[in-house]
């Protein structure tokens, strides 16, 4: 038995007062952060509020910040949360309003599932089979990890985009949308991909920061799901967006020179087509780049950019060959799905 200090971020809704309070708890080997919070609540201060239920890391109630990172408190051992002697800081989830102490208002988070219509839409006018739909093991294995979301909100709490944008669908809802896009029983694959790429706050607003992958207590890999949605959305032809243009511009630069072409990328992201057809917002976006360009000019960086560094000649030749080969191979196999498959396999197997 050892003593452990907990510093808890508290909020009293009656006085609207936020404060930190320190508690010392006797901890046994194997004791979790949730056990410790309960010890505080039951033995020291019954006013401390937090959500909990299953204590099996499956109901998703008790996600909170432990030393700044969102995690399930029931799943987190005291020993792993703190170096011996260091206090453990416990606070409410981020990116949501605090109701009381460690309880946050989860409405905004949960509403995103409704918004993304993350439920199965059966095929209209077509009776389901008498028994089950058949699904190949490989098909199921490709998306089933994304169906393990427990809606705990840890990903949303740590999401760097949700932190600045209320309108972002967020990692969990996007991963769940992915799960239905991938499920052959669903009838709305195209509609979903269109919505997710065109909606403000959809797949192209993710920064790829990996916060959600890190925070997720399950193996959902939300960011990977968002990335695969991007690939599928482009493949399905939903390309009239900045994200796709940015991808295409970036990739074509690498194809030509083996390296990123910073000179051309802004124009390609805005869209050469849009600029040529006199799209006003496209021209405005181009104008937005001007002050940045002037600053780069002043700091003598623009010249370097304009030199358009590339791979050496032998390298460029090989790189172009690879681009052509992969393009051909894509006609025969869904190589991109295989790439994601390899990622899930190593990511989940490696845990």
């Amino acid at each position: 038995m050892a003593q452990q200090q907990f510093i808890i971020e508290r909020y009293n809704p009656d006085t609207e007062e936020s404060y930190e309070e320190s508690f010392d708890v006797d901890v046994q080997p194997g004791q979790t952060v949730l056990d410790s919070l309960n010890a505080i609540k039951w033995e020291q201060d019954g006013t401390l509020s937090f959500r909990m239920s299953c204590r099996h890391a499956i109901c998703g109630s008790c996600a909170m910040k432990v030393n700044g990172q969102s995690m399930l408190s029931c799943q987190t051992q005291v020993d792993s949360a703190a170096e011996r002697g260091d206090p453990i800081r416990v606070g409410p989830q981020g990116n949501q309003n605090v109701v009381k102490d460690l309880v946050v208002d989860v409405t905004k988070f949960l509403d995103q599932f409704d918004r993304a219509e993350t439920w199965l839409e059966p095929h209209e006018g077509q009776d389901p089979p008498e028994k089950e739909y058949r699904q190949k093991v490989e098909e199921f294995d490709h998306w089933s990890h994304a169906s393990t979301c427990i809606h705990c909100g840890a990903c949303y709490s740590d999401c760097t985009v949700a932190a600045v944008d209320e309108n972002f669908l967020g990692p969990a809802a996007l991963a769940k949308a992915y799960r239905f896009v991938m499920d052959s029983r669903d009838s709305k694959r195209e509609e979903r991909l269109q919505f997710l790429s065109e909606e403000q706050g959809g797949i192209w607003d993710c920064t790829r920061c990996y916060m959600c992958v890190q925070a997720c207590p399950k193996d959902v890999l939300p960011m990977d799901a968002i990335m695969e949605l991007r690939t599928m959305a482009i493949e399905a032809g939903f390309t009239n967006n900045h994200g796709t243009r940015h991808h295409k511009g970036f990739t074509s630069g690498v194809r030509k020179r083996g390296r990123l072409d910073e000179m051309m990328l802004p124009v390609q992201s805005v869209g050469i087509g849009r600029l040529l057809t006199g799209n006003i917002s496209a021209h405005k976006e181009m104008m937005d780049y001007t002050p940045g360009a002037i600053r780069l000019l002043k700091s003598r960086k623009l010249l370097k950019i304009a030199q358009r560094h590339g791979a050496n000649a032998a390298g460029r030749e090989q790189i172009q060959r690879i681009f052509e080969e992969v393009e051909t191979e894509k006609h025969h196999h869904n190589v991109d799905a295989e790439a994601f498959g390899a990622e899930f396999e190593t990511a989940i197997g490696g845990h």
Partner: protein, 579 residues
């Protein structure tokens, strides 16, 4: 006063499945009320599977499933209910599959099935080892699609029944602290089990038997409450569940000699005997000094015979739970396990349509407008012991049937009304705790109660211990009158809810112990050292316990017959239960 045609309390599998069914009638206004968000419901913690005789892995039939269920329940199973469960099982699974449930697949692309304790065929349909989560999720998704109203984080305080007609509910909005009456022509309880009264349990903090006690307080007797299932593979100490799927996949259980002791208890089934039998075997080994670890209070479950790849693929949760909660990697070492209170066979008496009935009275009169399904109910499909994977199936099958049962009658039911006076009990209860000033603490009494029930009304029971146990429970009830809480606020006051829940635990614990004391036989999950055999002459009957009226010392017990009239086949006759 809030008003709905149908109000479903509890948002696990039974509640949500019922709500979906009721929502098929667009003219009806249906709502769900739940103290935790639906996705937090404890159904989601079920791991290993949901039974149905699909026959995808080996030949199977509903008859065989029914026989396994009846025998598994030590013949206290109502056979009309077991028949419904098993006959309607497959179509319910297909329905879930059509809704998008993430079932694991076999090589043919069908729903995969594995072996489970007490089942003679591999009939556990599964989603890795998170089957409850997969089913719970898909039901919630479909509710969202239908736009069913959910009162999330509302706590039901009181069921209002007048002249045997259910009027509705008094409930507490946890966020605001407001108490509201909600009237409904039909109320269904899918409020879950009552395992929290035991120290070592798999149950969620929420599994405090709230619905069971509300019905009891409304004058409805509780059925077979003494039957509590102890699951054989709880993590040592915490009692956290390691799925029976581990044994289904081939895990061994060994004692301190490294011996697979099930050889001595159920040689025909070994580790895949029903849970009550494995749990008793473990407890016997532990009490004989063949326990493991320094505490010698557990035995080992060894997953290594399954093989690493299959463990990772089929049992990821078991792997993570052992690592995260016990610091043991099952790929490298055996895991210490012990019996853990898991499932409540008893509950609110109802028929196969979810209609709550007073079964001991002539003609088993109904409580009009009141329905129940799932673990809160006692239909009784599990009898004295539930087989693994039958609980999810029960919740879905009887949730759907209760939904249909409601649809059948609700249009003919009169609108109900809850008067100010009907709220008095609920308002008074909340008020009492908010004002209470006494020396006793909720946490302390609760800890003592859980110790008492675990140690004196656990895997094995006897007269002397049960009498002690009952005395202690009454003492806690008395001390509870002097309990005080710290939090007097109105926003998210979980201190208050803890107190109310402890009140429920104290009340139903008395019923469990009283029923156990009276039942002088051993049957399924109820094992008396002083009456070690089943006694069909005297005890082939269900217990019904009424709340004591003024002047009565404890619950009044009556009994009712076990149903032996299945519709589509002959009943299975009583037989000795060996495996």
């Amino acid at each position: 006063m809030l008003q709905h045609d149908v109000l479903i309390v509890g948002s696990g599998l039974a509640g949500m499945r019922a709500a979906l069914e009721v929502s098929n009638d667009p003219t009806l206004d249906v709502a769900i009320l739940t103290k935790v968000h639906p996705l937090r419901s404890h159904s989601g913690a079920a791991q290993g599977g949901i039974a149905a005789s699909l026959g995808n892995s080996a030949e199977d039939s509903w008859d065989l499933h029914m026989f396994d269920t009846v025998k598994g329940g030590d013949y206290l199973v109502d056979q009309d209910a077991a028949e419904v469960l098993t006959r309607e099982g497959p179509e319910n699974i297909f329905e879930l599959e059509h809704m998008g449930c993430a079932f694991s697949r076999d090589d043919e692309g069908r729903v995969a099935q594995r072996r489970f304790g007490g089942h003679t065929a591999p009939r556990a349909c599964y989603a890795a080892d998170r089957t409850g989560h997969a089913v719970l999720t898909v039901l919630f998704e479909q509710l969202l699609r239908r736009g069913v109203k959910v009162y999330s984080e509302w706590y039901a305080l009181d069921l209002v029944v007048k002249d045997n007609v259910c009027q509705g509910l008094v409930a507490y909005d946890i966020l605001s602290g407001q108490i509201e009456a909600i009237s409904a022509k039909a109320v269904m309880f899918g409020t879950g089990g009552y395992g929290r009264a035991f120290r070592v349990t798999t149950n969620a903090f929420a599994s405090t038997g709230d619905g069971v006690v509300m019905a009891y307080r409304a004058g409805i007797p509780l059925e077979d409450m003494e039957f509590v299932q102890f699951h054989p593979t709880g993590l040592q100490g915490s009692g956290i569940l390691l799925s029976e799927a581990a044994r289904g996949e081939g895990a061994h259980i060994v004692n301190s000699d490294g011996f697979r002791f099930m050889e001595n208890y159920a040689p025909g089934r070994m580790e895949l005997a029903p849970r009550d039998i494995v749990a008793r075997a473990e407890q016997s080994e532990i009490e004989a000094g063949r326990g493991v670890t320094a505490l010698r209070d557990s035995v080992f479950m060894d997953l290594r015979p399954i093989g690493e790849d299959r463990i990772r693929y089929a049992l990821p949760s078991v792997l993570h739970l052992a690592r995260d909660f016990a610091g043991i990697d099952p790929l490298d070492a055996p895991v210490p396990i012990q019996p853990t209170a898991h499932y409540s066979m008893g509950g609110i008496p109802c028929d196969i349509n979810g209609q709550v009935r007073i079964k001991d009275l002539d003609g088993a009169p109904e409580v009009t407008g009141f329905f129940a399904a799932g673990e809160a109910s006692c239909v009784s499909v599990h009898g004295a012991n539930r087989l693994g994977t039958n609980s999810l199936l029960e919740a879905v099958v009887f949730g759907r049937r209760a939904g249909r049962g409601i649809l059948d009658v609700v249009h003919d039911l009169e609108p109900t009304n809850i008067a100010e006076g009907d709220m008095a009990d609920a308002v008074g209860e909340v008020d009492k705790f908010l004002r209470a000033d006494g020396p006793e603490k909720v946490g302390q009494i609760r800890a003592e109660l859980r110790d008492t029930l675990m140690d004196k009304c656990g895997v094995f029971r006897d007269d002397a211990q049960l009498r002690e146990c009952l005395g202690e429970v009454k003492e806690y009830q008395e001390r509870f009158q002097r309990v005080a809480i710290d939090d007097h606020g109105s926003t998210f006051n979980t201190d208050l809810l803890d107190a109310i829940e402890l009140g429920h635990m104290l009340e139903y614990s008395e019923v469990i112990v009283t029923g156990a004391l009276a039942r002088q036989e051993s049957r399924g999950g109820h094992a008396r050292r002083d009456f070690p055999t089943r006694d069909d002459d005297n005890w082939f009957r269900h217990t019904l316990a009424y709340r004591p009226r003024d002047g009565e010392d404890g619950p009044r017990l009556t009994y009712s017959d076990v149903n032996m009239t299945p519709q589509y086949r002959e009943p299975f006759p009583l037989q000795e239960r060996t495996y």
